[in-house]
């Protein structure tokens, strides 16, 4: 479904992603882990064609998205749902309007929007807050709205950029259960996270990126979180010194 073939991306002298090769099948649930600045965001931005790869191929359902024209990019994004750490809801729109917004951009008929939005809000468990504004909701509820907006177009892939980063552990677990439910419906999920407990708790495939390189690709159950050694910590400090 998604395949990176020797993908490279540099930002001037800084390596974003180097010789990345990975295949994610339909229906997979993949955790993307690694330290800040390792290349996780570059990975996601390349899938969304927010940035262009310097070389290599990125295939989504057999189509090389590095070859897409500017006009074709919106169609790609309509097939990919995006969930953000900070929810990115529009404060002046109600829950209904925030979710309907994703259908409006595809010029869906009003009748269809009226039918579909409550269905999805029901699925994410927030149908009782349909007329509320984001500021009237808890963080967990806001993230549910964000997920509803991301899945309303029935995307084949859902990219979640630290979806539990702003949530307390209990709410984070609820959101993870919801994402798992969506995954069981056949949606491929790529989730960027720093949350060790979540990665450990959910028995999923884990891809580790460090310094722009895919270091490990652990299948279900293989991954064990490793504490950084003193040596790793020292190297990291030395790297940070460079930017001081």
């Amino acid at each position: 479904m998604i395949e990176f073939i020797d993908v490279n991306k540099n930002y001037g002298d800084i390596v974003g992603l180097s010789h990345a090769n990975i295949k994610i099948d339909k229906g997979d649930f993949v955790f993307l882990v690694g330290p800040s600045g390792a290349g996780k965001t570059t990975f996601v931005r390349l899938i969304l064609r927010e940035i262009e790869a310097d070389s290599g191929k990125i295939l989504i359902n057999g189509t090389d998205i590095t070859k897409l024209t500017r006009r074709e990019i919106p169609l790609l994004r309509q097939k990919i749902g995006m969930v953000f750490q900070d929810f990115r809801l529009l404060d002046k729109k109600t829950v209904y309007e925030n979710v309907a917004f994703a259908l409006e951009i595809t010029h869906e008929k009003r009748k269809q929007i009226k039918k579909r939005v409550p269905e999805v809000l029901e699925l994410v468990g927030i149908s009782d807050k349909i007329n509320r504004y984001p500021k009237e909701l808890s963080a967990g509820e806001q993230q549910r709205v964000g997920i509803a907006r991301a899945i309303i177009n029935n995307p084949r892939v859902l990219i979640c950029d630290e979806p539990t980063g702003n949530l307390d552990p209990s709410t984070a677990m609820d959101i993870m259960n919801l994402l798992e439910k969506i995954n069981l419906r056949g949606t491929t999920i790529i989730m960027v996270t720093h949350a060790k407990d979540i990665v450990d708790h959910f028995n999923k495939r884990v891809v580790t990126i460090e310094n722009g390189t895919i270091r490990r690709d652990d299948s279900k159950g293989e991954y064990r979180y490793e504490m950084p050694t003193d040596e790793d910590f020292y190297i990291k400090l030395k790297e940070e010194d460079k930017y001081v």
Partner: protein
């Protein structure tokens, strides 16, 4: 298709509502620009009409006949003039006609002419010529003819006036171009502020697959609406100002300069079309400029 248009219009109006203050400021600024532009345009057109009128009316050689010349002498002069090529027409103006014309031109002060005992104005032939070359020929050929007292040819005055009017016209074009550019910048800045206010929304729109046109269309409509409102207000104000100017000065201009001025009923509909096209143009360019950079990010 209909739902697309309806959605775009709804978005345009709702974002205009959110930015009321800035939109009103832009409309006022653009209207002011259009008014100045309109005044220059009206001046341009009237000066143009003035130039054409004097060129046409004053391309005439006035041949004054010596006092006491009899009909035979007058006929001889006329036949001599008629032999010259390029004469459009010849009008005989008796001294009685001349005083009548003078009285008409003097208007309220014409009574001063009533006290003159003897009409000392000469009889004359008004020789209308096609161009300056013919005018010069008439001047040189006829001045030595028996019975001709003097010849008056206005071409020098006309060419001087033409130069002045040309200068006024060029200045008006420069000022109008400058004002159009300034108006476009004003609209661009207003829309840029709206775009900035909606940057989060636009970013989300792009993430979930909105096309560039889907994002751009409401801003384009907003720009066009600003342009149309400004042009409507400017047209209304121009109508008031010009009608008032005409009622105050129109008659005087006609009497003193003997040239017509453009009527309000002719000018305003044309000005409305110009303002509307200009407003739509400025609005379109302004919004395209302001959102282009944002979409390219």
């Amino acid at each position: 298709m209909f739902s697309k248009i309806a959605y775009t219009l709804k978005q345009a109006f709702s974002q205009m509502g959110r930015n009321k203050g800035m939109n009103i400021t832009s409309v006022v600024a653009i209207t002011a620009m259009m008014l100045i532009l309109g005044l220059f345009f009206v001046a341009f057109l009237n000066v143009d009409l003035f130039a054409k009128t004097i060129e046409k009316d004053y391309n005439v050689v006035e041949v004054f006949i010596a006092d006491g010349a009899d009909d035979a002498v007058k006929d001889a002069i006329k036949s001599k003039i008629e032999k010259i090529d390029g004469i459009e027409k010849i009008e005989y103006r008796s001294k009685e006609d001349a005083i009548k014309i003078m009285k008409k031109r003097w208007g309220d002060n014409a009574y001063l002419l009533d006290n003159i005992d003897k009409n000392s104005l000469p009889d004359s032939y008004m020789v209308f010529v096609k161009d300056q070359k013919v005018g010069n020929e008439v001047n040189s050929e006829i001045s030595s003819v028996n019975g001709v007292d003097s010849i008056k040819y206005y071409q020098d005055t006309v060419s001087k006036l033409t130069k002045i009017t040309h200068f006024i016209q060029v200045s008006a074009i420069v000022v109008m171009t400058f004002l159009i550019i300034v108006s476009t910048i004003i609209v661009a800045n207003t829309i840029k502020l709206t775009v900035f206010n909606r940057s989060k929304e636009i970013e989300i729109m792009k993430y979930i697959g909105a096309t560039d046109w889907f994002v751009r269309a409401p801003f384009l409509i907003e720009g066009i609406i600003l342009g149309i409102i400004s042009s409507a207000v400017a047209t209304g104000l121009m109508h008031l100002i010009y009608s008032r100017l005409i009622s105050l000065l129109g008659d005087d201009i006609m009497r003193i300069l003997s040239v017509p001025v453009l009527s309000s009923s002719y000018l305003i509909p044309n000005l409305a079309i110009i303002f509307a096209s200009l407003g739509i143009g400025i609005g379109t360019c302004g919004s395209i400029i302001s959102i282009r950079r944002f979409l390219d990010r």
